[in-house]
Symmetry: C2
Subunit: 488 residues, 2 copies
């Protein structure tokens, strides 16, 4: 008897990071944000997927700038880390249709068209893993029969933030697992009146954005409903066609003309009209952690309904959520606020207005202010750096190099660098010399001289760097060698 | 004809800095805080005093830790700076009675008992300098006749934050200047009902805390009403007795037993009962800038009633005051808030609760949190330092050395220091050597080696210092020479 076709979770990890600003940023999406329990949504999603029966491999579609960050996050999952992780790296976002089609091509090439894909956004929170697994089992059974399966969540309120799925005829099922229906249609985010109507009729479910289908079924649906998109994606697929490639980096020139449309719009809606889509009703708790309100609910409230993380003083304060960073946050005589404090930006919002956070991000972007894009701490393949201070002609950074990692062999034309090693032992290449610098040792590298910092130890190396020069942009770098493919 | 006795303003500059936390701190009182117009209350007070006719000298009573900060602030006043500034430096606060008595002893010693003192708290705001000068002229005339004069402010509301003065019989006056009255009594801060009653009777004025009297009149009143306090202060006066001393540093051992009582309580109230106190009614605007509410009113409002300083994004925000520091502050859907952002502490308060800020400070103090005491930037006689970052075994500081200033010749037993000069030219003493270090140059000083940093130029010297060692407390310092008397 041949083995059953494998179940391959495909995690879609991108997102503009606007709704959880200022903690999430364009270059630090919410899936990477530490939740009040210390874990990230991405790690939770990966762990949930990997704990499903029959799962041995994980496909992640993400921005190429987030590749190393994602790999590090997976490595940090300990026993739960993915043993077989493959990546599709996009140079920029092109919405979910392109991401799912490329993942399907890869899965088909490596595992055949009968392999079953479970498409999961990286930033959903589901606490009840058992109920989730039960729903997935039902979806897998339907997918095997050729259905394109979507997961509908039973509404707990007249929510206007989500799209809805209208359920058609129920599909037979032989056990007492979750119910399934033929999908009648996909409904856009409704107005409030419609949302109340949907809630009352009990015939509508929230569209969770999770899907299950065989690679051949979804590719067939692309052929029928989005043939142009599919053929435009063929040249992008490149190395996906080779069965041993675990990472595809998509060529930006080929990817740029791809339209940014959602899988729902490109394929699922027309497929539902054609009767090819099934809905599995999820009986599990589910949140897309799409707002600070949802994040707040992850922390336990105190007697006054206040929640939060970090060092706080709350006086005459009620129902307020405070995310304190490295500073103390005092609240006095306020209620129903969300206060999100980060090293370079602060948000103070009424909880009823949190859905408008993206307006703040848009205002920052319009002003050309950097705080919409990158957080103060920037993650790199070798570790991370934080800009501590700067002024005319100088910049002070904290640099962390991971065990076993190395920055590129590089030089800067316009700046000198002074390093003080404040934790661990750094291995330095400076011109033709190589030597170790112990904790509290220092090195000066004048402009124009080749250098490399490396961590050959088991503990984090931390360096305080003072850069001096008339031009201090990150683009003043000539790379000679790089372990992470950045020297080309 | 002998010259008229001089008018000597005495500025009382102390204050616990709790009501304007987190911008003011125990070691950074509100008089030093930059107002929305860029000036400080202390500079405004000094300028107001020095612009009075006949004023040529200024006495300042302050904490000795604030001496150099105060001198620098006066130096920065340009043409309006005091040419003759003398100081009485307290090791800790002992309220206003002790401060005024010591100032009176000094004024009597240098200028004789007929010299007139004008006692001014450092943190009052009076925009109408002409009306103020007119009131002072009336007070000076009454003081010459031997009265102890206090300034009463016509109430603009039923304020419970201030004490009141009850006016007795009006005093004759021959011109159309401000009215004056015999003081009937001093009234403590009233409850709200009493405040409304005082407002209605028109017989009560706010007690401004400003006074005018001859040195001999106030010392005479001390002899009559507080003889024990006066004799306890005699040994503290020390060098004040010498007519050329411009600075008195009070011995902490002698000052410690002095009771901390106010001039009102110790002298003015009993003197009023004895019929010796006159009230001049001030017709000028006056605020003691005693709360964030008062600070907010100094900034012009936008169309939505929002006020503030610094980089802000305001969306759906009304009647909110934002003091932004070096980070951007976004507000969304809020109203009637005060948001005070500083590098190490954030306050978010409803404007109606601002009088309770001291509860936050008390909570911090009870927790042993440093944020009640010192701001992130600490002022020193030679300049200032800011702690940028720290971790186990290291600390990163930005150090600013003023032109012509020098740190002490010192050594640290337990830490090494790495300096990168990022602005100006530093003059370094290191062991037996002395040399100049230009911008972008660096120096390393191992633990146990003597060193000194000096600025011989005309521009600010800025240094980034990385300290390394197992113990990094400010008290690990052995001083060999110090220009500011700190080497003893």
């Amino acid at each position: 008897m041949p083995a059953a076709p494998p179940l391959i979770p495909v995690i879609l990890s991108g997102g503009a990071g606007t709704r959880l600003w200022p903690l999430s940023r364009e270059m630090a999406p919410k899936a990477f944000m530490r939740l009040p329990d210390g874990e990230t949504l991405l790690a939770k999603t990966a762990a949930r997927a990997l704990s499903l029966p029959g799962v041995d491999e994980l496909v992640t579609v993400t921005d190429r700038e987030l590749y190393f960050h994602t790999k590090d996050l997976y490595s940090g999952m300990g026993d739960r880390r993915p043993r077989n992780a493959s990546f599709i790296l996009e140079p920029f976002g092109r919405s979910t249709a392109a991401a799912v089609a490329l993942a399907a091509m890869g899965v088909e090439a490596r595992h055949g068209g009968d392999a079953i894909m479970l498409v999961l956004p990286s930033d959903h929170l589901i606490a009840d893993g058992t109920a989730f697994a039960t729903a997935v089992a039902r979806a897998v059974a339907l997918a095997r029969e050729g259905s394109l399966v979507t997961f509908g969540i039973e509404p707990t309120g007249a929510e206007t933030r989500f799209g809805y799925l209208e359920c058609g005829d129920p599909l037979d099922y032989s056990n007492d697992g979750p119910a399934a229906f033929r999908a009648e249609r996909f409904v856009e985010k409704p107005d409030e009146d419609s949302a109340y109507e949907y809630l009352a009729t009990e015939n509508y479910l929230w569209n969770s954005g999770m899907f299950c289908f065989t690679a051949s079924a979804i590719l067939g649906a692309f052929e029928r409903h989005a043939p142009k998109l599919l053929s435009a994606l063929q040249p992008c697929a490149g190395s996906l066609r080779s069965s041993d490639a675990s990472t595809l980096e998509i060529d930006p020139d080929l990817f740029a003309p791809i339209p940014a449309i959602s899988l729902d719009y490109a394929v699922m809606e027309p497929a539902a009209a054609a009767g090819d889509v099934a809905i599995v009703r999820g009986k599990f708790d589910w949140t897309d952690v799409g707002s600070w309100e949802a994040v707040a609910e992850l922390a336990p409230p105190d007697a006054d309904g206040n929640r939060g993380q970090g060092e706080r003083v709350t006086i005459a304060t009620r129902d307020t959520f405070v995310h304190a960073g490295d500073r103390i946050v005092a609240t006095l005589g306020v209620e129903n606020l969300a206060i999100i404090d980060t090293p370079d930006a602060l948000l103070v919002a009424h909880r009823d207005s949190l859905q408008r956070v993206r307006e703040v991000v848009a205002a920052l972007k319009a002003r050309g202010h950097d705080a919409y894009r990158e957080p103060r701490t920037v993650v790199r393949p070798w570790g991370a750096f934080t800009i501590l201070h700067g002024g005319p002609g100088f910049k002070v950074k904290r640099i962390e190099i991971k065990p076993g990692a190395a920055m590129s062999l590089q030089l800067h034309r316009k700046r000198s660098e002074h390093w003080v090693v404040v934790a661990g032992t750094a291995h330095v290449t400076h011109g033709d010399r190589q030597y170790a610098v112990e904790t509290h040792g220092f090195v000066t590298v004048p402009a124009g001289e080749k250098h490399r910092l490396e961590n050959r130890g088991d503990a984090l190396v931390v360096i305080v760097e003072v850069q001096c020069g008339d031009y201090l942009g990150e683009d003043d770098i000539v790379r000679f060698e790089d372990r992470y493919g950045r020297a080309k």
